[in-house]
Symmetry: C2
Amino acid sequence: MENNRYYGIDVGGTSVKIGLFQGQTLLEKWSVPTDTSADGANILPDIIRSLPGPAAGAALAVPGAVLPDGTVNRCVNLGWGVCRPTDEFTARTGIPCRVLNDANAAALAEQRLGGGQGYESILLLTLGTGVGSGIVLDGRLLVGARGTAGELGHLCLDPQDAAAACTCGHKGCLEQYASATGICRLAAQAGIPGLSCKQIMDGAAGGDARLEAVVDTACDALGRGIASACAIIDPEAVVLGGGVAQAGEYLRQKVQDAFERYAFHACLGTRILLATLGGDAGICGAALYAMDGGR
Amino acid sequence: MENNRYYGIDVGGTSVKIGLFQGQTLLEKWSVPTDTSADGANILPDIIRSLPGPAAGAALAVPGAVLPDGTVNRCVNLGWGVCRPTDEFTARTGIPCRVLNDANAAALAEQRLGGGQGYESILLLTLGTGVGSGIVLDGRLLVGARGTAGELGHLCLDPQDAAAACTCGHKGCLEQYASATGICRLAAQAGIPGLSCKQIMDGAAGGDARLEAVVDTACDALGRGIASACAIIDPEAVVLGGGVAQAGEYLRQKVQDAFERYAFHACLGTRILLATLGGDAGICGAALYAMDGGR
């Protein structure tokens, strides 16, 4: 019975989303709060207590770098340092377990089941509090030598922009322009403080010229970052997800226009698409990764 | 006898270099002039006339984009439009033939036999008249959906830099700072016109402060471009080749320093290395590609 049941587990800083899948079908989903006390030592036990029974496999999607051998290299938002959560998970449950970066999980899910369906190679950008990204090439995740492939949020667009100081220690990273946080910063810088990213996007789409100029700056940065990535990996399609992308076609068209301003001519055919899986991308991608064996 | 003999053919704008390999051993090499008259229609017949006999396979390394299906999408320097030179080559010789981009051939050669030996994933930069680049991930070439993966020369570093107008139609491409042409341009812009790139590099290494400032500008651009690529593909090593890289350790150290100024912290361990195959990289890479079957 459990032979084709898999757990996809998306470990976030506030809550852990868990999905039970039979093949690619989501049977049920639930969440547990993320207890970051004691260096996150309770997170795995809390997850495991919530599981309804055995399964053929599981995977954890985590907000941090994952080395190719499955070692997690710090998840600041969980309190985890360098660790191997899959070993503990399997020891406590008997369920084989894999681990991957959460943006990579979302990329895999959107490529197989979401906005990137039908394309073998995609770049996914998750535009949320930060800018996450994941790359699928020929149907396989690109993890990188140190587990940091697809860190497009830290592409340096303008090393001189002191107003765009990034948490990574550099200046002018894409994340400082194109995340929800970055868009609010750009608005404040333009003399319009105190608005949420959604208010800025809605106001811009509703015709407020000052807010539209803010959104245009963000989309220009996104288009340039995507053009850079396409000159390097040349994917078939680019998929935009995360809270900022809920602005939908309004955002997509602006990003497409900006991409075309910067793209190397041979890359102009690259499709810019919207993600479709929303908040389920992490659990779907983790479950697919659990099913995938070597991928 | 011909069962493990392969031709590696590097088709340049001035001459075609041809190597006959037995396994990975170069038995002999020669060249024929590139006749670009009549839209390059004589290039293949000239090559074929020079071949000493049958072989198990061959590959053409060409200066243009090659689609995943083997269609060449224009080689301006050869006079070729959209074409399938491998079909003609095989029809005339009976030798199975593949085709790949010349920078990709060099990347494959340096990863297997040259400066990147021992690493499964590398980014190669060829710093010559332009900036070519190729990417090997997990021992396989990354070709891209449109054959334009690894176009690092057209990474946009500064879209406002009108002095760095690129042949691709954009401004501020890496190639405009880090190619031999770009370095000469930077020197002229600094009030030192009329020097060759080699003279600039030699003068800088010899202690001329004004020339060293020019080289530092070029290396800063290279370091930033490499940092961007590493945030996207996270290779184990980056290999610098081409005429500019003949400055050797002097250049390598400056690029490493610049890379470390811009790199995402998790990528700081990436090795910056020098290419070792020189002008043979193209024929070696083509021969390896011919031997490789599916790769």
